[in-house]
Every structure is written in C-alpha cells, then in structure tokens.
C-alpha cells in the first residue's frame, strides 16, 4: 500500500507527471511543520490576519427553544473572508512561499475557497488563477468579481458538468502543465496524498480551539460535534482533536439535495460506493460502471460527488456518523438560525444546524453539542430568496 492511507482509503492516484511534485510537497511539509519560524508565522497570520481564535458561542435561545442539550456554535463564519477556508489557505500559501513558489492555483465551487486563495495570494504577492465551473460563475457572479478585485484570474470551466468536480479536473490539468513555480492549493481534505493530511492539519485548529474553549466554559467534553460535509474539510478540522475522545460523537451532515432516494443528491456516504477518483480511493457517487455521477445540492460548497478519505475511514470504523440533510431542511435551518440567534450562516453550515434541530431536544440538558458554523451566509441570501420564490439579484 502506498503512502497517505486511512485504512484502505486515500493514496496517490495521479498521473506520473505530478508524482515528483507531490513527493516534494510531502517532504517540504514534513520539514516546515516542525520548523519554529514556519509555525510562528502561521500562528501570527491566524491571530493577526484571520482573526483567530474564533469564538465558541453559547446559543442560549436555540438551546431553550429545542429544550435539550446546550448548543455551542464554533464561529468560523467570523474569520477573515467569511469561512474556515482561510485556515487551510494561509497554511498552504505560506508553505508555497517557503517552497519558492510564486503562483497559486485552486478550484472553487461556491467561490469561498477561491476568494480565500485569492486573498492569500494578494497578501503574499503571488500570482493566482482560480478554476470555477461555468455554471457556478453564473450562480456566484459576485464571488467572481470579488476574486478579480483581489487580483486573481478566474477561468470559467466549460467541460463536463461545468461545476465543482470539473473545476478540480481542470485545476489538476493546469498543475500537470506547470508545476515548477505553482502550488495547487487544494480546498478540501481530498485529492492525492499529502493533501488530505495537510488540509486536515491546517483545519484542525478548529477542534484544538474548540476543545480548550468547551473545557473552559463547561469543564467537560461535548457529547457531540456536528459539522457539514462536502469534501469534508471543516468537519475534519472540527472532529480532529476529538477523535481520541471516545465519548464524543462525531456527526457529519451530507447534502441530500432533494432526498437520498432522488437522483438529485450529493450525499456520498448515503448513496455512493467505493471508488478511485481525483487522486484518492474513497466513497463516490457513481454509476454501475464507475462513471462519476452528476450530483446536486442547493449548496454549491457541498455539491461534490466524493468525500475525503479520512471521513471514509471514520465512517467504516464507526467512529463518525454521516447523516443526510435535504435542501428543504437546510433552508429551514438557515432561516431558523437567523431568526433565533441573529446569525446568517452559510447554507452549507445550515445542514449541520438542521441535524442539531433533530437531535438536541432528546438529549440531556447536562450535555452539550458543538456545531461548526463553517461560514457566513451573505453569499447565499439571493439563492435562498429565490428558493422562497422572491426574485432577488445580487
């Protein structure tokens, strides 16, 4: 078995052209993660630029309303650029700089990761090119302009289904044509090794902080940690430091779209099977011949036909549980959190809120739940309005 395995999952299923670069990246990361200067610089960026640590907020009204476990929100939405994506991007951009790279490329779905990457590139004075499905550039025109404001060049991807998976394909093709000065800043805990490990490590700051914060506030560990899962980076970050704590339930919320029994879904664990795609062995939505299936979710950030390999492993071993949440449930939760707590969260994060609404009431009042608010919802307001039949344009 090759490097970068989580049980049977993970690996490095990429063209030979990229292999030396992946090995170089792995070696560089192994060196810098132990390098004092690197760690201090990243720490400073987290504190001074991204605004970390993010708050662990006690959602008192929501707790009272649901009538069970105490609910805490980990506020990744308050980070600079509005989501958890910045944690990984600052880490990878700093690593790229240390490696002598001058150009960052990345895929993006809704645009959050693209905006974060463009932001880091601007900060470090690097060139930046973002690949985004043509459909998504239309749905998220504001984010396209935002990336351009930050100095990035945005390429609409016209191949395949013109969405996130095609953007990943195109970024991989671009990287294979130019590796010397370029790092592919992968946006989730997916792709070939070492990306699932690197992205997890940079995102694990979420659970590192949350664990200390909950112990300080409650004097004990949470009964459950809940997060939404597409590729799975915010969930992996939120879970990581709780994995050794066997009393803490880890729950990932997948985008079920119109429902797991419909063709319009992106719930990989619920509807997918094991396969090899985008450089990794994991679960994927696919047909009987291994052709990758078109997926659907109201949330562009969860609209991906796979899941990171470490999640596949946590699922198989039973350490984490993955549950489907539909568009309808997510939209209702989006509105609920806005009205109950005055927080407009990302539609992705609303999938996690929806599940908390289902489970909190039946839990003991002494228990607590941490739910990761992976991003803010400004980007989704127009889409939610349209979902409710109000034609608002950004």
């Amino acid at each position: 078995m090759s490097r970068g395995r989580y049980g049977e999952y993970g690996g490095q299923y990429v063209p030979e052209t990229l292999m030396n670069e992946l090995i170089h990246l792995e070696n560089s990361y192994a060196f810098y993660k132990k390098d004092k200067d690197f760690c201090e610089e990243l720490d400073a960026l987290f504190k001074e630029y991204a605004g970390r640590p993010s708050l662990l907020y006690y959602a008192e009204k929501m707790t009272k309303d649901l009538g069970g476990a105490k609910i805490y929100l980990k506020r990744e939405d308050l980070n600079h650029t509005g989501s958890h994506k910045i944690n990984n991007v600052l880490g990878q951009a700093l690593l790229a700089k240390k490696m002598g790279k001058s150009r960052l490329i990345a895929e993006t779905g809704a645009g959050q990761h693209g905006v974060a990457t463009a932001t880091a590139a601007a900060l470090f004075g690097m060139e930046c090119e973002i690949f985004m499905g043509e459909e998504d550039t239309k749905r998220q025109a504001l984010n396209v302009y935002r990336m351009e404001l930050l100095g990035a060049k945005v390429h609409p991807v016209k191949s395949g289904t013109k969405t996130l998976k095609d953007a990943v394909n195109e970024t991989m093709r671009e990287w294979a044509s130019r590796v010397d000065d370029t790092l592919y800043v992968l946006g989730s805990v997916m792709g070939p090794h070492p990306f699932p490990m690197i992205v997890r490590d940079f995102q694990s700051v979420i659970s590192k902080e949350a664990k200390a914060q909950i112990l300080e506030k409650e004097g004990r560990l949470p009964a459950a940690v809940v997060a939404c899962v597409g590729g799975g980076s915010n969930a992996m970050g939120a879970f990581y430091h709780f994995i050794p704590e066997s009393t803490v339930k880890l729950i990932g919320c997948e985008a079920a779209g119109k429902g797991v029994d419909s063709a319009l879904t992106a719930a990989t664990i619920a509807t997918g099977s094991v396969g090899v795609f985008h450089g990794m062995k994991s679960y994927f939505c696919q047909d009987e011949f291994g052709q990758i299936a078109p997926v659907y979710s109201i949330s562009a950030g969860l609209d991906y036909p796979g899941i990171g390999p470490e999640h596949a492993y946590l699922h198989d071993t039973g350490r984490a549980q993955y549950v489907p949440v539909t568009d309808d449930e997510a939209v209702a939760a989006f509105e609920y959190l806005a009205k109950t707590e005055g927080i407009i969260c990302a539609i992705e994060s609303a999938h996690a809120i929806a599940h908390v609404q289902k489970i909190a009431g039946s839990m003991d009042k002494q228990e607590c739940i941490i739910v990761n608010i992976s991003g803010r919802g400004d980007k989704d307001v127009a889409a939610i309005a349209r979902y409710r039949g109000r034609d608002i344009h950004e």
């Binding site: 490095q12 292999m19 394909n169 093709r173 696919q286 011949f289």
Partner: protein, 256 residues
C-alpha cells in the same frame, strides 16, 4: 517476451488510439480494422471515463460523446469481441482506474485475456499504486503499462526497471493533445530508460504530423498518436474511415 513487446520487435511501431463508441460502436470496430490495414501495429482503445483528468479537450469531448451514446465498459468488450471475429491485431485498453476498479480487477482482466487484450494503460495509476491492479493483471497475462513523464527524473530508473510490455514515454507536460512543438529532452529520457531495461519505449502526447512522428521514432521504438485521430473522427463522424486510413498510412510511412 510478452505479446506487446513483440509488437515493437519488427521495426518502429505505430500505436493508434481511439475512444470506443465515438461516434458509435460499429464505427469503432470499422476504424480499428482500417487502422490495422493502414499499418497500425497496436490499437489503443479508450474506455470512456466521465472525468478524464489527463486528457486535453479533444479526447475529453470524445469521451463525453461516447458516454452520451451509451458506451459502457461492457460495450467496449463487445467492440473487442467484434474486432476479434475479423482480426488478431494487438490491442491495449486505455482508461482511468475507477472503471476497472468498479468492474472488479478479476473480472476485468479475465475478460481481457479471453479477448486477447494484451495491455492496459491507466494514466491515474502511478508506480506507487500499480500493485493492486498489476498483481491481478499479471495472473491473466495482461501488462499494466508504465508511464514516464518529463518530470520523472530520478524516478525513471525505478519505473523502467519494473516496466512490462512497453514504456509509455510522455513527451510533454500537461495533458494529451496536439502540439506544434515538443521541447522535452526525449533522447535524455530514453537514454535513462535504456540504462536499466530493454523494454521497448513508445512516445506519446502531442504528436500529430508525419514530421513529428519521424523525429520521435528516431529516439524510440514507436510513437503513440491519439488526439489527431480522434480529431478526424470528431470532424468526419461516421464517415471518417478513409480519412483515418490515409492519415495512419502517412504516419506509418513516416516512421518506417
């Protein structure tokens, strides 16, 4: 010596690629026979995949056309079956790992052996990962072809030592597709390979003109042409037979 190696034992070999089911299964069978008649020494049949990440626009589009037309892994085996009724031309399959993984390694390679498919090219299966498929393929006498890229450097010897059938020398960075110029130090790469193995080398990626083919054949035991043929199929559709025949004849003549 494997059957694939023998392909390269009779002078410079011309390896011709097309995507199965583009535009139809019947056309693919006919085009394969035309290419053989025109002098192609090995036919590389692409099993279309929804997300061909090592492919340029021409083969991406062909894959999507084939899938839209209903082509499946099973359908590709039927095409080979039809070809085998009329020809013993050496055949290798090209696809991504997922369709093979999903079909099941045992079932897939058993099918290959029964149809006289001698090799498989899987661009997303690098040296480190090839073990799981190669173990099964080997039992059925199917060679998993190794690729060596311009970035392989010190990996060249590692890969070449274990290579079976022939070595696919990737001429250029990036993805498949027609290129006006190939700037990689091919001679240097082949020299590195030759230092550790006698396994034949075929150069692919970017070759489209007889002139390029002639130059590349000079460095190696054969050339592989894909996008240029697929482009003819894209252009002429079900009436591409004569065009393909003429093109392959010219290319074969250029490397002889």
């Amino acid at each position: 010596m494997s059957r694939l190696q023998e392909v390269f034992g009779k002078g410079k070999a011309f390896v011709a690629f097309l995507t199965a089911g583009d535009p139809t299964a019947e056309c693919t069978v006919n085009y394969i026979l035309k290419m053989e008649k025109a002098g192609a020494d090995l036919i590389e049949i692409g099993i279309p995949f929804s997300d061909p990440t090592a492919e340029g626009a021409v083969i991406q589009e062909a894959s999507l056309r084939a899938l839209r037309g209903g082509m499946t892994t099973e359908g590709v085996f039927h095409i080979v079956e039809e070809v085998r009724k009329r020809s013993g031309v050496p055949i290798a399959l090209m696809t991504y790992l997922n369709p093979v993984f999903h079909y099941g390694y045992e079932a897939f390679f058993a099918r290959c052996r029964s149809l006289g498919v001698d090799g498989i090219i899987v661009p997303d299966l690098p040296f480190e990962e090839k073990g799981e498929a190669e173990e099964v393929a080997g039992r059925f006498g199917v060679d998993v072809i190794s690729l060596i890229a311009p970035t392989s450097m010190e990996r060249i010897r590692l890969i070449a030592k274990e290579a079976k059938g022939f070595i696919y020398v990737v001429s250029s960075m990036g993805v498949t597709g027609v290129r006006s110029q190939i700037t990689t130090d091919i001679a240097g790469m082949v020299e590195e390979i030759r230092a550790v193995t006698d396994t034949p080398c075929a150069i692919g990626f970017g070759i489209s003109t007889p002139k390029q083919a002639g130059e590349m054949a000079h460095y190696a035991d054969g050339v592989i042409v894909g996008s240029a043929i697929v482009r003819l199929i894209e252009q002429y559709g079900e009436a591409a037979g004569e065009e393909i025949y003429r093109y392959v004849s010219d290319m074969k003549a250029a490397i002889a």
